[in-house]
Symmetry: C2
Subunit: 466 residues, 2 copies
């Protein structure tokens, strides 16, 4: 560790020097084709994300490093670096970030499965219900009237609503990086976050309706809820029935890893699209797609090359050795879907988190009263979700509670809608954004700490069960 540190920092310095040369040269000023420019931005973002991985040295989760690097990159804009705004407004880069979030939730879905989700279903539902109700009540009836007296009820409503969201991306990533997606805590949080997204949709519809028309459109609301539930149920049923068929159909054309990969990723994208169509977040669709794609259904595809070589190598060995080696080979018989999706995730997922960090506007930290209000809101946001962990039953309730804390991009959506409707002024908007950032940044290190405390034996048990 000691020896490696100077090397890592020399890499940092060299990268900074390279960046300085690139940006100071005439090349920078020359107007060039947009897509070539996007190539450069993508390279800058993914290298910056990997420099963020240095936080592992201080035992912090990589995702935190990626967000912090994004915040620092965003801060360069204040220092007069115009390229930062160019990155932020690059439509292609932004799309790749969204695609990264979709791929991440697809990966998380692949590593979960319907059976274990069903097992934790009732508990996930309780956690989601409390995790929505508690922050909403606290925000609307306590924080609003007490800290912001004299504002309209619609404003308080939006404040409460913005506190209800749960961002599954951050939490899922921390669980995944810690290799703990199979734990019941993780499954409960994932299930609750998906339910939360459906509830959030309903709440957004209700409060928007009240804020703009002063009343609730019951019929429209019913349709929204039915569509969302119908999508989730339909996707799961259709997927369970259709996946074996997809497997046979496409394997008949060609059994290569490329075909397997393409069918899977196309299903993920199609589900993301359909989820968006009915008003859910695309990532919920991607998660559902991952959930229904089980390795079992993709048996008809290729075995890797190493298999033949090993069979030849142990041809003359004793029966016992042959048997053992073959068992290893059998375990690695197919290139797993997870392995195929992994490099695409390596490429795209960090773009999402660095961009999320870049959305942070450090200037809002300048106003003390905004900061104080944001601190109060963040405390309520955390308390409201920690309470929901109590409904998780006989698991580590702190892990579930903290897993529900990050608001991420979902909370930001509420803030943007409220601003558009005119019920949130600039200060309140900034406050909500700071609450979102606070809950998002505090969760990864705390969750990683809690996960490290899970006893070694419990981990081994989980691994055996998986």
């Amino acid at each position: 560790m000691r020896r490696a540190a100077p090397r890592a920092s020399s890499a940092l310095v060299a990268c900074a020097a390279l960046a300085a040369v690139l940006f100071s040269s005439d090349a920078w000023a020359a107007g060039s084709d947009a897509s070539a420019r996007s190539f450069l931005w993508i390279a800058v973002i993914i290298v910056a994300a990997k420099l963020g991985a240095l936080v592992e040295r201080v035992r912090q989760p990589v995702v935190l490093g990626e967000i912090v690097v994004g915040v620092l990159l965003g801060g360069l804009a204040l220092a007069g670096f115009g390229f930062v705004d160019e990155i932020r407004s690059d439509a292609v880069v932004r799309f790749l970030g969204e695609l990264g979030a979709v791929v991440l939730l697809f990966q998380i879905g692949l590593e979960s499965n319907v059976r274990s989700m069903r097992r934790v279903g009732p508990r996930a539902l309780s956690v989601a219900a409390i995790g929505v109700a508690a922050p909403f009540v606290l925000g609307t009836y306590l924080v609003g009237p007490v800290l912001l007296p004299g504002m309209s009820f619609a404003t308080y409503l939006f404040l409460g609503a913005a506190l209800t969201a749960t961002s599954v991306g951050i939490t899922g990533r921390v669980f995944r990086d810690a290799g703990m997606l199979q734990r019941p805590e993780a499954q409960i949080v994932l299930g609750a976050a998906v339910i939360d997204d459906v509830l959030g949709l309903v709440i957004l519809a209700v409060v928007s309706s009240i804020a703009s028309k002063g009343a609730v459109d019951a019929a429209g609301l019913g349709i929204t809820v039915l569509q969302a539930l119908g999508f989730l149920a339909g996707a799961l049923a259709l997927g369970q029935a259709g996946a074996p068929w997809l497997n046979r159909g496409f394997a008949a054309i060609n059994r290569g890893a490329g075909m397997k990969f393409t069918v899977a990723i196309a299903l993920c994208l199609a589900f993301a699209y359909v989820a968006h169509l009915i008003g859910l977040a695309p990532i919920v669709g991607a998660f559902a797609a991952g959930l229904i794609l089980d390795e079992v259904h993709f048996r008809n595809f290729d075995a890797p090359h190493i298999r033949d070589e090993l069979i030849a190598a142990v041809g003359e060995a004793d029966a016992r050795t042959r048997d053992r080696v073959m068992r290893v080979v059998e375990r690695h018989r197919v290139r797993h879907l997870e392995d195929l999706v992994e490099p695409v995730g390596h490429f795209l997922v960090p773009i999402f988190f660095v961009l999320a960090g870049m959305q942070v506007n450090l200037e809002v930290l300048d106003d003390p009263s905004t900061v104080a209000l944001a601190a109060a809101l963040t405390a309520v946001a955390i308390a409201g979700k920690l309470v929901s962990g109590l409904a998780a039953g006989s698991v580590n309730r702190w892990i579930v509670g903290w897993g529900m804390v990050p608001r991420g991009e979902v909370g930001l959506i509420f803030a943007f809608v409220g601003k558009d409707l005119g019920v949130l002024d600039d200060q309140l908007f900034s406050t909500i954004v700071m609450m979102v950032i606070g809950t998002t940044l505090i969760t990864p290190p705390l969750l990683a700490l809690l996960l490290r405390r899970v006893p070694k034996e419990a981990r081994a048990l989980d691994a055996a069960r998986a």
Copy 2:
């Protein structure tokens, strides 16, 4: 084969039915967020590309299937399907296609290396020189004056110039799919195509200068040439010196496969950007990046999990078996960069070829005189490049000659510039586009046929050498 065919066609029918449902529903009419839409288009394109893989059944290369599927998709626009134009004009999808071309050339570069390129250097130079000179002379002094009497010399010049381009993407893909990138023929064609890109740059500068100002800007021309040569030489020198350093620097942060992959892909994108800055195609930069990234330089990254399991499995076996198994393991010691880039290629490369096919406007086939002119131009285009194969020395000259034939997107660039400058009218523009399509579609099947005829012994020899 017999049994599999009905399954494949049932997959086709079902996909068509799914598409029909999706596009006929209200969902289709509902205005929705652009990026969710792009998710859908990507899914449609990559599934269509895989259906194109059915051409393997009739022993045609997959890339041909992808282009043909693109042409058919494009044809749906004539049948009144509005979504086709939406795909064609989707900026994100187009970017992903360009990124696909960049990734493809990066992969091809990874599988080549500087040493073997240098060995074929002089022959590649001769092939490129003749492959540029012959079609240019034929086009400017024969086809132009004979078939299009009374037009300006600038028009003839552009006609000749458009014939000089070589598209390395198509040929490289065919060689790659056939597992023959290591053959000297492939290396000569790749080298010649890169040189061709530099020459094409010069020719475009010259003819544009003559067409717009009536004279050549010698100073500007010299700078263009020097920049291009400087980039190629500089990239190779810098890469050879810098890659081991990159390896050490980033491996010091983290030795995971994700880090290895990120450093490599970031270098590819940065090189693509710099190539574009100095006026070369981004794919030339990506190829150069792949060329200098040698596995040797990326030794400091992780070994896969299977290794430990196998070592345990043969722990008690006889020495000879242990030795053999270990040799297999050693060969698969690292997850090769190629393996990591492969899934990203599976995802993005077909988008490029399907989109290329979609650019074809089938309506131009309606006018007999345009078709006749295009046929003549295509014949000259093929003859001019086949002649260049004669300079390839003691290899299969037909393979080299045909490898140089496809014009691909590079030929289209000439057509667009000529149209912009007003020296090419609509009919001539269409003629050049048809020539590009003709040379692009005829090459994959012919080249695949020639490669299949390469004697088995020669293939084994190549594999041993690789």
